[in-house]
Structures are given as C-alpha cells and as structure tokens.
C-alpha cells in the first residue's frame, strides 16, 4: 500500500457517507433499515423518517425483486456474508422503478451472530438500458436469421419443386415459419382461362375458394392485377379498399393481411414482370411488419414467382412430351393391325379415356360406312350431324367454345386430299379451349387419317386379290366322265390375314388324260393371287400329250426365270391315263400326294421329289414316277395349311391326315375334302387350305366282311351307299338295295349267329347297267322256318324290295338278291 495522498481539502467522513456517488443502507439482519444516506433518499424520493425503523429493504423492491430477494439475495448473504452486483429494481416513492446494482456485506458480532447488513446500491439505469438494447438487438438478429433460414429452406424447396402444385405447397408454409402468420393461402393465375384459382392453404376454413376471373373486384385479383405488395394493417383499412377481404377477416378473426404477388423478374422493375400468383397470409392481431420483414416478404414473392415460372415451363414441356408420346404410341398401335375396322376401333380405344370422354370415328367407306364409338355421353345428335356435315364439306376442324352446346370437337380425317371421314371427340371443357391442344388434335386426326386410308387401300387390295383368287379357283373342273370324279375345297386363312397363294387345278390334256395340280406361291396378297393365276395358266399351256410331269416342271423352272414372283413356288402335279389307270406324278418342293387304294391303308407318294420351282440351291433334276391305280383309288393333293399347325409337329399332321382319310374311305366323295379340312384345321386356320381329291374309276364289285354286330350294319350301309352313288344308281333302287341288304345282315345276326357273337358276315355286291346284285352270307346255323313275326317282316321286306331273292342253306345261309335298275 502506498502512502495516502494528502487531499487539498479535509474530507468530512459524514459528508462522504451522505453524498457518496452510491446509495448506502444499513439494515438489521431482518432487513429493517436502520441507516440510509442522502444519495439513496435523493434517488428514490423517500424521506429518511419514512424508511429508518419502518421499512425493510425488500419492501422497496419490485414484486419480481422481492422474490429474487428471498430466493437468491438472502440465502447467498447468509452463506457467504456478502453478495455482489445483484440487479434489483427499487420502487421509488412516486412509483417509478430505479434499476440498481446491489452489493451487501453481513457484519457479525463477536459470537458470529449476524448484527447488521451494509448495502451499497449503484444506479444501473444506463447499464440496464444498454443491456436491453443488447437483448433486443440479439432478438432482432435471431428473427432475421430465422426468416433467412425459412427463406433459404423455401428457396431450396422451390428449386426442387417441378410442378406448380409443389411450388405452391413449398411457398404456402413459409409465412407461418418466417413471420408467425396465423394462416396463408396461395392463388395461381391461369392465363389461358383468364381466371385465378386457389390451390393451397394452411387453413382451408378461411377465405373464399371459388375460382375468380382475373377482372374480379376481389382483393386477390386486384393485387394480382397491380403486381404490388399490399399490407392490409387493420379491418378498417380492409373495409376501405377490399370489402370481400374485410368480410373474410371478420369471419376468420384476422386483423392483418399481407397480399404478396408472386412475380417473375426483379420486383424493382415493374415493366416486363408477370404476376403468376398471389400469396395471402394473415395475422390474428394487428401486426406491423418491419422494413426488414417486408424486404424478406418481397424476396419470397420473387423467388416463388420464378419457381412458378420454371414449373410452368416444365409443366408445358412435360405436357408436350406426353402428347408427342401419345401420338407416337397411337401411330404405332394403328400400324399393328392392317384391317380397317380393327384400326378404327384401336383409334377410339386409344382416345377414350386417355384424352376424351367420348369419341367416334366415322368413315365414308363402302355402302354403309364405318362407325366406331366409345365412351359417353354422346353429344346432341342433331348438333353433331350438323357439325359432321360441315366438317366433311369444308375439311375444316370445329373446336366449339367451352359454353357451346355441341360440346365436342369434330376433326376431318383427311388423307391424300380427300376427307375420308371424321373424328369426333368430347373432352373436358378446359381441354377444348386450349390452343396447344388444337394443334395436337389436328395432328392426331391427320396421322389417324393416313393410317385409316392405308387400311382402306389395304382392304381394297385384299378384296381385289380375293376376287381374283376366287375367279381363278372357281374355274370349271372337268366332270361328267364316269371314269373319274373330282372334289375340291378352298378355305381362306382367318379373317385378318391376306389371301395366300394356294391353288389347285384339274383339266383334261386330251380325251383320255386327266391332269391335277396343287401349288403354293410364296407371299400373300394381290401379288400372290396374280402369280398363282399365271402359274396355273402356264401349267395348262405347257401340259401336253408327250410332255409328262418331269418335263412340265422343267418348263416351269424356265417360266419362273421370267416371272420372278413365282420363284420358289411349290407344285404337286399328276397325270392319269384314264383307260389304264396309270398315274404319273412329280412334286416340286410340295407335300406328297396321299393315295388310298380300295384295299389297304393310305399311302403318301414319296417318289419323284425335287426342289421348289426355280430354286437356286435345291435339286432341280425333275423326275417322275408312274404306277397303276386300281379302280376305286382316291388321290388327295393338298397344301401345307391342311397339316401344318403351330401346335402340332408336321409328322403328327401327316399321321392324322392319313388316319382321317382312311376313316372316310367309304364316305362319298362329295363333301370329303371339306370334312377333312374341317377335322384337321377347323375354323381358326392361320393359313389358306387347298385340297383336291380325285376318285379314279369305280369299283365294279364291292366286297366287305363285317362282324355279327348290329352296330356295324350302319357302317356297311354307308360303304354300300357310297358305292351305289358312285355308280349313279338311281335313288329308288339304291334305297331298296340298302334296305334288303340291311335286313339280310340283320337276319344273319339274329338267327345265324344268335349263339355266336364272333361270327362274320360276307357281303358282296355288283352293279351292271341292268341290275344290282347283292349276296349276304353267314356261316351260322339255321333252325328251320322262323316263327318270329319281326324277322318275318324282315324277310318280307327283302322279298318286296328286290326282284329276285334266293336262300341257300347248304353252309350257313347265303341270300342272293337282285333288283333290276330303272330304265333311263
């Protein structure tokens, strides 16, 4: 410690106490003031007499101070004997509060008992104000930071929001977080429809959600129109400017509303900015927004506006892309089917419900035209008919205004400068008025028209090809010759396929020589039909007395060098010498003919095979084979459609054909080819089928052996019937012979073999120009004249139906019956 400096004047200790630059208080341990200096009294306005002995220190404190006194000051002082710089507000005599900082010392007696508390108080008015300022500044900084954070979050969200809806969702949450708004709503401007639409809100119970025209007097529309930020500070203010807003505010208990236009471009440049929407947020109390807050609000408006602008462009791009994809997919779908009706169907199927609620395709094609319709409801029939007529005449599309009663767009289907028909579409009204959609619909109609026109041409060509093929196949087959009979059959592929190049032919080379041919030209459609005709004519021209199948095929090889479309065509060709029954045949890449002789199983003719016509890699050495066919032989020529099926290996096809063919050996020739096609192919054939069956000569004599089984009588009758028919036996005689023969067999079964189920019955029949003779023989036992009435009737029938009947019972029973044929 240095030596005390001597002052220039004497310091009076009392004066120092009374007028020290701080307040002094001495109190008893319970706080009762016992001494106070003048400084304190001056600061607080109390009289010394008011305090000393009357008041405790704590009585002078504010209510918060009193609590603090009890909870902190007193315990601290008791424990530590001193407290430093505790802040207390002292309530002055006039009720003001004086911020102070308090230091206290507890003085103790010799026994360490508390004796007195000495307290100094410093005026902290200045310091407290400074602290407050500091706190306020900090709060402001924090608020600002929070707003910035909210804004940053919103900006980040906006950047990631690809659609208007998502932008709206990101923006609508901002005012609550940033400014403590009670609720907020967002409205978007729909320029095309000239309306403003509410899209999102944090509290949908507030506000008016109806769409409004942009010219509406409502606050949102006005703000959108002006493009300025509006802060409606009170209900009174609202009433003055925006009555609708005032009403809403009153209803939802709001006192301040901010209407923020969401604009493109910077806010300070009014020119060139566009208002895309309005963000409206409101506060329950009257809320003043600071300049800093208003700056943030404006920033939010710009950011949201830009995001909306981006989303709009993005939406538009995506929409264009969707339309382009739709067009491409529709074109592709139309290309998948060739025929007109399925294509028309595809078109309406694509359009409804994807872009329209109802659609109709009308084509002026054919005698009745085409109409494909889907969806509903259909427009008023009269209005539509009127519109259709106008579009068909002018070739101009009709896009009705949204309020027009027609309610559907009618587009011409124009191809190659001709209005082929119309496409009518009923869409949601907002679609109809959109200019961009118009271009799209016109494009759709144009593409569809082209696809439908191609279909129409395809149908036309298909029709021509079919007519051509029919005319070629329907040519006269040789007939009226007892030495042979020909049966043909043609079945076109399933209805959606073009005609193939399958054909058959039969013609007389000379009086005694018959030619039959079956072939298959590569390809389909009109080319195949034409080529088929050429090839058929070529064969007819090339065949001759001294030519024969091998030479004919060689000539055809030369022919296809000139008619390129006939190259690789396959041909099965056979000639039959009718007097001898000699068959000469050759196959150029074609399936082998199938021969059924009167006895035995069917046989595929596998000789004389060589490559298809004009083949460059195949074996073109043309050979032929001759074999003699017995009378009653049946020769079948056919095309691959008969045995080739996707679900069946070809060898199975051959097997099945041989089996079915054998099964029908006794069936009449008439209907045989059709029955074979029906059994092997059915109706769902994917390829054309051609068959030609030739029956050579006729059996002079038929011999059959059947078991003693009544079920077999019907089979025998079928056999016999076919034989009688092939001999042109007149119906009366035929029926009589069948009846007598049946009865004789029945007799043999019921009498001769009544005890022997394994017996056999031989039947033989001959036909001449004069008579039919039938012999039925069994080897059973005969038990004398029958008394059975029914058999008696059988015998009676035999006798009545035949002219002569002889029973021979030397070995079993042989019935010989004869009936004269009717005179011509």
């Amino acid at each position: 410690m240095t030596q005390e400096l001597r002052l220039p004047w004497d310091e009076d200790p009392d004066d120092l106490y009374e007028h020290a630059p701080c307040g002094y208080l001495t109190t008893l341990p319970d706080g009762t003031i016992v001494k106070v200096n003048q400084t304190f009294l001056t600061w607080t306005g109390y009289k010394r007499g008011d305090l000393v002995g009357h008041r405790r220190f704590r009585d002078l404190l504010s209510s918060g101070g009193q609590i603090y006194y009890e909870t902190h000051y007193a315990p601290l002082l008791r424990m530590q004997d001193e407290v430093h710089e505790l802040a207390f507000d002292v309530v002055c005599a006039d009720g003001r509060t004086l911020p102070t900082l308090v230091n206290s010392l507890l003085a103790r007696g010799p026994e360490q008992e508390p004796r007195a508390i000495r307290t100094t108080l410093f005026d902290a008015t200045e310091r407290r104000g400074y602290e407050k300022e500091l706190l306020f500044a900090r709060k402001r900084a924090e608020d600002s930071e929070r707003r910035i954070q909210v804004l940053q979050q919103v900006v980040a969200d906006l950047a990631a929001a690809p659609t208007e809806a998502e932008v709206a969702e990101a923006v609508v949450r901002a005012p609550e977080a940033a400014f403590g708004a009670a609720s907020s709503s967002i409205y978007l401007v729909d320029v095309e429809r000239d309306t403003i639409v509410a899209v999102a809100s944090t509290d949908p119970t507030t506000g008016n959600w109806d769409d409004m025209p942009r010219s509406s007097p409502r606050a949102v529309a006005r703000v959108a129109d002006r493009g300025d930020l509006h802060v409606v500070g009170s209900l009174t203010e609202a009433k003055q400017h925006f009555p609708d807003l005032a009403e809403n505010m009153r209803r939802s208990g709001r006192n301040t509303v901010v209407l923020l236009p969401l604009t493109t471009g910077p806010a300070d440049e009014q020119a060139g900015t566009e208002t895309l929407g309005v963000l409206a947020f409101s506060f329950t109390g009257e809320r003043r927004l600071s300049d800093a807050e208003l700056r943030v609000v404006r920033l939010l408006g710009q950011q949201a506006g830009q995001a909306l602008d981006r989303a709009r462009l993005y939406d538009a791009a995506r929409h264009r892309e969707e339309l382009a994809t739709f067009l491409a997919e529709t074109t592709r779908a139309l290309d998948e089917l060739h025929r007109l009706l399925p294509r028309s169907r595809i078109l309406v199927d694509r359009v409804v419900p994807e872009i329209a609620d109802w659609a109709a395709v009308r084509l002026s094609v054919g005698p009745t035209g085409v109409l494909e319709e889907k969806g509903g409801p259909a427009p008023d029939a009269d209005l539509l008919a009127h519109a259709l007529a106008r579009v068909t005449t002018t070739g101009e599309a009709i896009f009705p205004a949204p309020d027009e009663k027609l309610g559907c767009a009618v587009l011409p289907l124009t191809a190659r400068g001709r209005v082929l028909g119309t496409l009518s579409l009923r869409m949601a009204p907002e679609h109809l008025s959109v200019a961009g959609e118009h271009a799209f619909l016109v494009e759709l109609a144009d593409r569809s028209a082209l696809a439908l026109e191609n279909s129409r041409l395809y149908e036309q060509e298909r029709q021509i090809a079919r007519t051509l093929q029919r005319s070629l196949l329907a040519g006269n087959m040789p007939g009226g010759d007892a030495r042979f009979a020909v049966e043909t059959y043609y079945q076109a592929a399933g209805q959606d396929l073009e005609i193939g190049g399958d054909w058959f032919d039969a013609f007389m080379i000379n009086n005694d020589r018959l030619a039959v041919a079956v072939g298959d030209v590569v390809g389909r459609g009109i080319d195949a039909a034409t080529t088929m005709g050429q090839l058929r004519s070529a064969i007819r021209a090339l065949a001759g007395d001294e030519v024969g199948p091998a030479k004919l095929l060689e000539a055809l090889d030369r022919f296809v060098d000139r008619v390129e479309t006939a190259r690789m065509a396959t041909v099965a060709y056979a000639e039959i010498d009718l007097p001898t029954g000699d068959l000469t045949y050759a196959c150029a890449g074609h399936l082998p003919p199938l021969l059924q002789e009167p006895a035995g199983s069917p046989e595929y003719l596998l000789q004389a095979r060589s490559a298809a016509l004009g083949s460059r890699a195949g074996d073109l050495r043309r050979t032929q084979t001759t074999r003699r066919l017995p009378a009653g032989s049946r020769l079948l020529l056919y095309t691959d459609g008969l045995i080739e099926r996707r679900t069946r290996p070809i060898d199975k096809g051959f097997e099945l054909l041989a089996r079915e063919y054998a099964r029908r050996r006794d069936a009449p020739l008439q209907g045989l080819t059709a029955a074979l096609a029906d059994t092997l192919v059915g109706r769902d054939n994917t390829d054309d089928v051609c068959l030609i069956c030739l029956t050579l000569g006729t059996e002079e004599r038929i011999e059959r052996t059947i078991g003693a089984d009544r079920m077999q009588i019907a089979l025998l009758r079928a056999d016999l019937r076919g034989w009688l028919v092939s001999h042109d036996v007149e119906p009366e005689t035929r029926d009589a012979v069948l009846l007598a023969c049946s009865e004789a067999v029945a007799n043999a079964i019921e009498h001769g073999y009544r005890d022997d189920p394994f017996g056999t019955i031989d039947v033989a029949a001959t036909v001449t120009a004069d008579a039919v003779e039938v012999k039925v023989a069994d080897h059973g036992t005969w038990r004398g004249p029958t008394t059975d009435v029914s058999r008696g009737r059988g015998l009676q029938l035999i006798r009545e139906s035949m002219d002569q009947v002889l029973f021979d019972r030397t070995d079993g029973t042989t019935v010989t019956m004869r009936r004269a044929r009717e005179a011509e």
Binding site: A714, R717, A736, L739
Partner: protein, 114 residues
C-alpha cells in the same frame, strides 16, 4: 344318347317327335324308349319321319308298336312321311296302315284335331 335321332317339341297342342338319320335294329330300341317316356302324358302325338334317311323292319316294328299302344289308350297319332324317300318306301313295302300316314305336318295336325 338318342339326341342325334330325336327332337321333341310342341306343334299346337300335340307332342311333335321328329326322327332323323338312319333308324335300324341297332338304335330302334333306344329310340322307342325315349319316345315312350316323353309322350306318356300327351293326348296327341305327331311323328315326323321326313328326314329319316333309312328305316328298316326294326324301325317299322317300333312305329307299329307306338301307334298300336297309343290307339289302345284312346290317343290319336299320325306319322308324317314324305311322298317318296326311304321311310315311305319301307312303310309301303310293309303295307303300313295308310290312314295314319300324312305327307305334311299341318295336315297331320288338322287330322288329329278333328
């Protein structure tokens, strides 16, 4: 299964039995049973044979029995047979009762109604 040979229907108030195809000793028993089962309740019966392509003595026996039974029960019946054809031939050859044969259905029905 006799469906391929017989179809039953009504012609006015009469039961109409249409036979078709070949009727012989192999199927006549079965056909007879099917017909008897069906016409048990009928007062009038028409049997149409116009599409029968073959009729043998067993068939004749069946028709004979049917007509006889119906007559015994006081029921009326007619056979409709074409003017020619296999069924007519067989019936004629057997000297079947001409009075129950008619050549067309309407006339046969009219006959029954008298």
């Amino acid at each position: 299964m006799t469906d391929q040979w017989i179809t039953f229907s009504k012609f006015g108030d009469a039961e109409l039995v249409r036979l078709s195809g070949e009727i012989d000793m192999a199927n006549s028993g079965e056909i007879g049973r099917a017909i008897v089962n069906r016409i048990r309740e009928s007062g009038k019966v028409l049997i149409d044979l116009t599409t029968v392509s073959f009729l043998d003595s067993a068939g004749v026996r069946l028709l004979d029995a049917l007509i006889g039974d119906l007559a015994a029960q006081g029921k009326r019946a007619r056979l409709v047979v074409g003017e020619r054809g296999p069924a007519r031939m067989t019936l004629q050859l057997c000297a079947f009762r001409e009075d129950v044969l008619e050549t067309d259905l309407d006339r046969a029905a009219a006959e029954l109604g008298r």
